[in-house]
Assembly symmetry: D2
Homo-oligomer: 479 residues x 4
Amino acid sequence: MDKLREECGVFGIFSKERSALANDVYYALFALQHRGQSSCGIVVNDDGVFNSYCDNGLVGDVFTTERLSSLGEGNAAVGHVRYGAEAGSASRSNAQPLVVDHVKGRLAIAHNGSLINYAELREELELEGKIFQSDGDAEVIAYEIIRQRLTSKSIEEAVSRAMDRLKGAYSLVVMSPSKIVVARDKHGFRPLCYGTTERGDFVAASESCALDAVGATLVGDVEPGEILVFDRNGCRSIRDHCGEVKKSLCVFEFVYFARPDSVVDGSAVHIARQRAGAFLALEHPVNADVVIGVPDSGIDAAIGYARQSGIPYGVGLLKNKYIGRTFIAPVQKVREDKVRIKLNPIASTVAGKRVILIDDSIVRGTTSARIVKLLREAGATEIHMRISSPPFLNPCYYGTDIASRDVLIAHNYSIEEIAKIIGVDSLGYLSIENVKKIADRCNKDDFCTACFDNIYPTEEPSGRSRNRYDRKLSEKEGN
Amino acid sequence: MDKLREECGVFGIFSKERSALANDVYYALFALQHRGQSSCGIVVNDDGVFNSYCDNGLVGDVFTTERLSSLGEGNAAVGHVRYGAEAGSASRSNAQPLVVDHVKGRLAIAHNGSLINYAELREELELEGKIFQSDGDAEVIAYEIIRQRLTSKSIEEAVSRAMDRLKGAYSLVVMSPSKIVVARDKHGFRPLCYGTTERGDFVAASESCALDAVGATLVGDVEPGEILVFDRNGCRSIRDHCGEVKKSLCVFEFVYFARPDSVVDGSAVHIARQRAGAFLALEHPVNADVVIGVPDSGIDAAIGYARQSGIPYGVGLLKNKYIGRTFIAPVQKVREDKVRIKLNPIASTVAGKRVILIDDSIVRGTTSARIVKLLREAGATEIHMRISSPPFLNPCYYGTDIASRDVLIAHNYSIEEIAKIIGVDSLGYLSIENVKKIADRCNKDDFCTACFDNIYPTEEPSGRSRNRYDRKLSEKEGN
Amino acid sequence: MDKLREECGVFGIFSKERSALANDVYYALFALQHRGQSSCGIVVNDDGVFNSYCDNGLVGDVFTTERLSSLGEGNAAVGHVRYGAEAGSASRSNAQPLVVDHVKGRLAIAHNGSLINYAELREELELEGKIFQSDGDAEVIAYEIIRQRLTSKSIEEAVSRAMDRLKGAYSLVVMSPSKIVVARDKHGFRPLCYGTTERGDFVAASESCALDAVGATLVGDVEPGEILVFDRNGCRSIRDHCGEVKKSLCVFEFVYFARPDSVVDGSAVHIARQRAGAFLALEHPVNADVVIGVPDSGIDAAIGYARQSGIPYGVGLLKNKYIGRTFIAPVQKVREDKVRIKLNPIASTVAGKRVILIDDSIVRGTTSARIVKLLREAGATEIHMRISSPPFLNPCYYGTDIASRDVLIAHNYSIEEIAKIIGVDSLGYLSIENVKKIADRCNKDDFCTACFDNIYPTEEPSGRSRNRYDRKLSEKEGN
Amino acid sequence: MDKLREECGVFGIFSKERSALANDVYYALFALQHRGQSSCGIVVNDDGVFNSYCDNGLVGDVFTTERLSSLGEGNAAVGHVRYGAEAGSASRSNAQPLVVDHVKGRLAIAHNGSLINYAELREELELEGKIFQSDGDAEVIAYEIIRQRLTSKSIEEAVSRAMDRLKGAYSLVVMSPSKIVVARDKHGFRPLCYGTTERGDFVAASESCALDAVGATLVGDVEPGEILVFDRNGCRSIRDHCGEVKKSLCVFEFVYFARPDSVVDGSAVHIARQRAGAFLALEHPVNADVVIGVPDSGIDAAIGYARQSGIPYGVGLLKNKYIGRTFIAPVQKVREDKVRIKLNPIASTVAGKRVILIDDSIVRGTTSARIVKLLREAGATEIHMRISSPPFLNPCYYGTDIASRDVLIAHNYSIEEIAKIIGVDSLGYLSIENVKKIADRCNKDDFCTACFDNIYPTEEPSGRSRNRYDRKLSEKEGN
């Protein structure tokens, strides 16, 4: 797979009325499915009894009617979708939400992000005799919250105090027997928003599209460092950690991760992608007959490029919408590039034409090369590739799988060389300066762009914590 | 479901070499899946032994790796995808290809279309002591071919003689132990094309996208009344029935049924849809800010409308690509229209805008009304709906499920009334004159437009054959 | 597998009241499951509408709650379990009951047995232009019944007239829109009995254990050549064909096929097996310490042997009751005979003991040799094997899979040689004379013992019909 | 369900060679399946990497070929089968083996038994900030071992020191990265044995039948309080805790729980059951015609009773061997006792006879009453029930589900009353004195018989630990 993957999506709902909240979480997780397709889980709080089900697989496969109804009713619930390396998933389940019992009760935790001091915290905990049943952040976060809980008056105070020890990216939804506590790390690396429903429920989610899915209205974003508490008294904000450090929202949420119909930190994602296309047209103009996008993620930027350049937008590639997890890939290597199942060029759009081809990013380059070959065979006379983000040059420590420089084509080759490798007549990337401007309602300094410019908002992980990122990479290489 | 459904897709391949042809059929059926999602089947001919598997379900669900490999190798194979009412499917299997033994050997038959004299033929056969294990056309066609086969020198002669008795729409792929015979009815109601692969295999398919899927090159279309024979001597055409009657290709193949990347009877489907949009812009212009399409089928026409009108094209509705057969629909009726799982409006595209909304057709109007409501809630100030085909007024007897006038909104209401029912500011349909012109390489008189203008290319079915259409309708109503 | 397999079990029920009869058939098929484990099916007659479901697999796997309830209610129903070679089952479904439409209505047919003139009848039918969708007897039987139906006043008359053309073994349950017709071939090769329920339903089944399963009371056996008609007027017998030929019930039904709790043609199967053991003790006495049976089928005869001989009965082998179709056999050949999963000797029963080991038959001898080895390892000092039937020497044409002489160990070796091959100290088979006496309420001349004595009650199949038996064998060899 | 259920079965294997040990565990778990049918799991140690898979379900359903091969190779492995209330299983997984990481490495734990000081230990752990992801003993045991591990030189030392804190019943198989440590509680409540394979592997299992299943030879039993260490240096015994307290093996292992082909603490289970039958014949003789057993567990005692009394043994009840988890129970209450699917009486054995019916125990009495009714309908003239164990009067705290006095029929009624309730002519239980003598190689004082005589080998659990037993009961009642 030549695509970056987000690590997770989180969702929580608190209602004054008891109802089958698992259904709401189910719809929300469907809307967040693009953020994680490896495993998913739902926990329903029925007056302190937590009924939960987590498993590997897509939401629609894991949750049958029976599973959902077995979760019963409750007045609070949390859910999670997760992307994770398949290899280890049989042996060490990192599926979330994590449910744990402790001396003062019970917690369910849904987490999106990545701690940079995971190994240091875990080592400290292990020395205290604590045991670990996964290698995920959530278990460390649970221990840290519970450590504080022993001497705190409330779960939200425990979360607030734990935040001083947790470093890196985390968007959390924590459910106690009587509350839901929502927290976003001080840098605000990953999105997190909240809203209300007509009957007065409070909901929080990684993206606003999950609020739409349950018929809730977006109230706003959880600010970097902010804690929200949903309970019988309503919604309360704790801002002790707000403003402690510079905001560093991952700009790639706008470029690729988030869904186009979401609004992240005030900016519409769809608009941001069209703006990225428009900036690209300004930065890398070229004479051509048609602008096409690689479906689905290059479509919006292609429309933006077309509008800005005045060159007509066209549909040049058709994606087979029936290809799912069950599809059996062609076995005969030799015929592979003749067989066009997943993506078929529309010859009537590209034959005899000079084509501008828009995609959001290039990771290894293999997929791009294959698409370019298809378009040439379909008769495209020139192909000018435009990428709606800058080249990937550095690893990400904040919850995506841009894991190592070695694998990144842009780290190893010049732009001219890449153009030659993937077979295009010209190639242009969006500049770092402009990618910071694509979100129209955000401040251009509010972004983390470390993967492009090597400027990390935190110290880089070292020692065992660093090894963790390298290990992740090698596992993926091994696939 | 507020969508018309095609009845079937067919595919056949003949090779001089023995290989795992089930894989090729599998890829082809994936490409034809849009033509039928109820059941599918593959038959592989291994030197006269026919290994087959058919079942209800999507291609990706029915055919696992084991199923495919259990079909073994062979030098000819046929495949089929089918849409059909679910109700009776457990008790009476109409799944195809149908495999039958007869005195001179064995046949596999894959069929797309609908016979208007089914009941008359079946009655005659039953009086001869013949038995029926389904209520599908294929069994009657099999009997008629075999009736002729008893006194014919070849299977192709038997097919040719049977064509004098079969009335209505049929695109057939028939496999005997040594040949594949491909035949299209004299009117050419349904598409059927053929091609070759690099190693010299001959393939036939309902649409050219299935040829792309197996890496074959399109040679041309099977002409109305034409019979093609694939065997060890190559490909041979029998044109005895060509030109007997006026060509009457279903125009709705261009509007909706066929895949945009297919070429049908020489015309590119994608181009045809853009032309439909362009004609619409000329027939029904309106002042607006953005043109959007209902995904997926309205997108191409929206782009055509935008280009012709100069009004910008935008993405106004996002379809959740994870919603599949496993999705559990919201149970609570009251909340249904608040919950936006399958389709979510992109507010940043439509808020505060005058929107032109393009769809390919309106059947009952319920889905359109729901979409319009979503767009209004997302802030659209005006909604002008444009339909890239004329209003449905009459039933179809040639293989689609436009079954009865009663259910068709356009049969019961004026255009102004429909506009009011679905809640749009204005509504415009493409004219019959222009719909005949959307396929740029076809003659405008070569189409069947009976569902729009009541001009049927054949006599209308009567008696028991007519009852069959009415029964189909009532079954669907009962769902 | 070193076991003979019965071909089928049939069941039918007719009620004056409409109810969910699929449940009754389901319980009955569970009771008949030992007669066929490859496929099963149920057809419910709801006032002329036949709702059916058939599939490969065990009753418990094929029929889920949903499947059963989808069959709805009715006042008549038929069911079938079937054993069949797996090889061809994907391509040519022989699953029953077969449902067919004909000019005078509809039939469902469930059949146990084997026609010896199948090929002759089929050829005649094919020459009339009839087509075949399976290679099973049921389709030929359907055609023959319907051929007669065209000129008969009733379905029972058609069945009666068809019986003059059908040669060989058949126990039939035929359902028309208004009746159930039950028929047993003139020789009575396979068992068939009937009974009534408390509410007055009539039921027919291959064995009386299926009547117990639905709470019905056994009335009696369908006599050779007899036809029973169940309809709104009650139960009626047609005896036109009774007594036309000598009765020839398969004696192996008592030895192995039937369930011990069944009563077949008046004799209790369990008693017959104990008597077989007692005869064995008289024919082949030996000094020993314990008598054990190979579970499950050797147990009854072992008890009979023990009682007759005065040597204590013991449990010497334990069968793992959790081993089912899902069990994955040991892959490493070398370790196979060390691993004892399916059958484990009970050392405390056999260690240091002279053991008499009872089984019902020896086909190839491989399983017996393996069991003997296990018992030796567990410490048995002597092993005397006794078989509760005579040696298999000839093929069966009447519905079991004793297909060819070549595979039968007794056809190729003397008893002394067999004893050496399987590693026992002595070996004794029941005599033909005594096997005819095991059923205490049956006449000793009423049995078919052709597989033992080569005396066939009918002509042996010839030409194409004969090839059919040979082909079956080679398919099995190929497995 | 009117049957007692064991809580668990454990298995471990250590090999000097690396191989696909998951297969061995798989076969062993099949042999132990009778000890737990709710969930199962396997962990393979591949040089410190623990590959594991646990799920709810039977071994044959959970472990497909793919699952097994995904566990890869290794030189040590552990496995577990478990019985547990279904209710909570979705939300709180207690499936084992439990795999945990700690500061000095990694552990996998498989446990059979029940701690009587669970709640006290857990409370202490929670106060130290430890979290719990299940409510099973294994997690507490893991914490206690790891608590000791921090200051121990070896894992076996840690296990030994933990044993001073763990009270109650536990048969443990613990796997560290380099060893397998096997331990049995000081009372030896649950069985635990070990052996070797031909290639020198060491194996430990709850029962010797699991050793047979993998082709291993039984060396002996792990003694009460004994610890065995399997590592590259061979097998070593640590006997520090041996002899600290009186041995108290659960006598019901011989009566019902263990498999008849197992040898437990030197005594063959099958022999023990026959002896129980023989004692019964001496204690409760009666004039009768036949002795039958309730399958499967009453068969052995019935044979023993028959031998001692001289009354013939017979097969009076047939169990349908196809009834599995998929079977759908009859819905219509009224017909339930007429329908005989699971168990059918063999009339030929019991009709007109005075029957002695042997079963191993009576819990609630419902099943016994139903069986007696079936036998009467089949014609039994007298029914004398004999039970091969004393009446249950007290709860068990050591790993079975005899949870509360309220539910036990013998606690609430006299023997005469019970006879009347279940409808027998006479009823006799084995005496406590004799049940202690059934295992011929065991000392009669070496047993726990608390459920019969209220003499508990340990203090009874109190406070929160006691509530745990009561809660378990109420969950079961709620089903």
